[in-house]
């Protein structure tokens, strides 16, 4: 799976302060760390960028391009900042992150993907919010992708985002997103996909977030999911994605297939993955203590 490093995010206090002060060092440190950790893309999340959107986006892109050759994912809902960010990408073809089925997004974001010939993330969000189930996700994405196609953006340039909600907030939605991922390539041949993986574990105690993220990534990967915006500084996640931990992948797949998998012969670590699969598939009710359940 293509991993898009998520660490340069305006919600992070260090990043927010560095952007405000135009202090390159903390941003470049994160860019280098994620590049070395094995990221394939770097996400630059600048939030709504209300103040000086053009100048901020340009500064951020240039700052990161000074230390890495990786392609960038320009992540903002502000179309002005988006355009400036895309324009500043000189090293590799960027990813516009993101457009959606919202009216303003169709009108202001999607044309930018065409204008700058970028790849583009299109989420299933609509003017009515996040679709609640697989069918409404399908309905939303078919509509938005058709709109993008008409603008001249081919399926191959589109990365569909099913929108992942925290398992601690709405366990059912985690399953809905997975089911959607399963059928995506059948309903839209040639389409790519991505997901905000860490949102899954938002609200879960910090030390337990990794295994949720890693397990779900592996489950998605089984269905040919293309990429994830993820914490690449989690070494086990990168190793798992690279194929260095085949026995873990195998145990996750078996847990997906067999509800009553016999865990007596499994290692402590493997059991944790089995329990996590069971929680993510909604077989057991989530609690922060799911590994001890």
């Amino acid at each position: 799976m293509i991993l898009i490093g998520e660490s340069i995010h305006i919600i992070s206090k260090g990043v927010s302060a560095a952007v405000k002060e135009r202090n390159k060092k903390p941003i470049q440190d994160l860019a280098v760390a994620q590049t070395e950790a094995g990221a394939h893309y770097l996400d630059l999340n600048m939030g709504p960028a209300r103040k000086n959107p053009e100048e901020t986006a340009e500064w951020l892109v240039k700052t990161v391009q000074e230390v890495t050759d990786l392609p960038l994912s320009i992540d903002t809902l502000n179309p002005v900042a988006m355009e400036a960010g895309l324009k500043a990408c000189t090293k590799a073809r960027p990813l516009l992150n993101s457009a959606s089925g919202r009216t303003d997004s169709k009108e202001e974001m999607l044309p930018l993907a065409k204008k700058y010939n970028t790849d583009v993330v299109i989420s299933v969000l609509t003017d009515r919010g996040c679709p609640p189930d697989v069918d409404s996700r399908v309905e939303s994405i078919m509509d938005t992708v058709a709109y993008a196609n008409e603008l001249g953006i081919p399926n191959e340039d589109i990365w569909v985002d099913p929108i992942l909600l925290p398992v601690s907030a709405d366990q059912k939605q985690v399953l809905e997103a997975l089911e959607f991922a399963k059928i995506l390539s059948d309903i839209l041949p040639g389409i790519k996909s991505t997901i905000g993986l860490s949102n899954l574990s938002n609200g879960t105690p910090e030390e337990l977030r990794g295994i949720l993220n890693r397990t779900y990534m592996t489950m998605l990967g089984r269905y040919g999911f293309y990429s994830a915006i993820a914490d690449v500084l989690d070494q086990e996640l990168v190793r798992l994605n690279r194929g260095d931990l085949p026995q873990i992948v195998d145990v996750i797949h078996r847990a997906m297939d067999e509800e009553d998998l016999d865990i007596s012969s499994l290692s402590q670590q493997e059991r944790k993955y089995v329990k996590t699969v069971s929680t993510l598939l909604g077989r057991t009710l989530y609690s922060h203590s799911w590994l001890e359940d």
Partner: protein, 301 residues
Amino acid sequence: MDYKAPVESYSGSVREVTIGQGSKAVKIGGESKLAYNFFDEGSIPNPPRFALEVRDTEPDNWAPWVLEPYKDVVSDPVKWAQKCVEYGAEMVCLRLASTDPVGKDASPKEAAEAVKKVADAVSVPLIVYGSGDDKKDAEVLPEVAATCSGQNLLLGPALKENYEVIAKAAQEHGHTVIAQTPLDINLMKELNIKLSKTFPPERVVIDPLSSGLGYGMEYSFTIMERTKHTGVMFKDAMTQMPIIADLAEECWKTKEAKASKEQGILWESMTALSLLLAGANIVVLRHPETLGLVREILKQE
């Protein structure tokens, strides 16, 4: 073609929990199907139980029509509790309002002695709720547990902040514990898992918080219903505890219940009936006429 109604049978069941000791002992829970699903397979060995509420201090803002049935006894928790039993309560729910640190801030010892007097004086099991202040309850409830050792009170609320000390005391002195979480099924399960590491799950009752009709009751309903679904239908051991619906205060503090007697009793009755349908195993009421009305309706089941 004849219509044949589908009959469901489930593989899980709610734990049967005993409250009270000896001749006072009452069993709750134990059901292996959903509440009032009389058409399905499985059994409901114990009907829901009704408690009436007593305070250890005189209430100051109750509507006159809910104070009226108790007007001669509100200054004496023992007599008040006995009155509740006369009115037909199967349990008494004693609320230690006096221990609230922002109120009278009574000492744990005072409170515990008052509990003991009530427990000894009534012929039914006793539910004891602390003030809800997690720090103060961590002092009060263990003292109550020790003073009433062996009486198998239903003690709470044990919260995520103080469950360890309350469970330890309940364990040592043979009581049952109310595990309370704020209207969130995931946090509810979380507390049950933590509690069950050191405390027998057969002695836990869930309080998911009960909101009054019109003030979020549907949240309580959903959580109770889902708790039963995961426990009875999906055999989740950590949601198979019986449920207490502590709804009286939430109903009687509404402006609707304070507007007229009839409306107040209907407010409390409708909330109680709804939460019974969701699967509540103990219902805490305040007005004896509510108790009569709800029982009357259930008889016509």
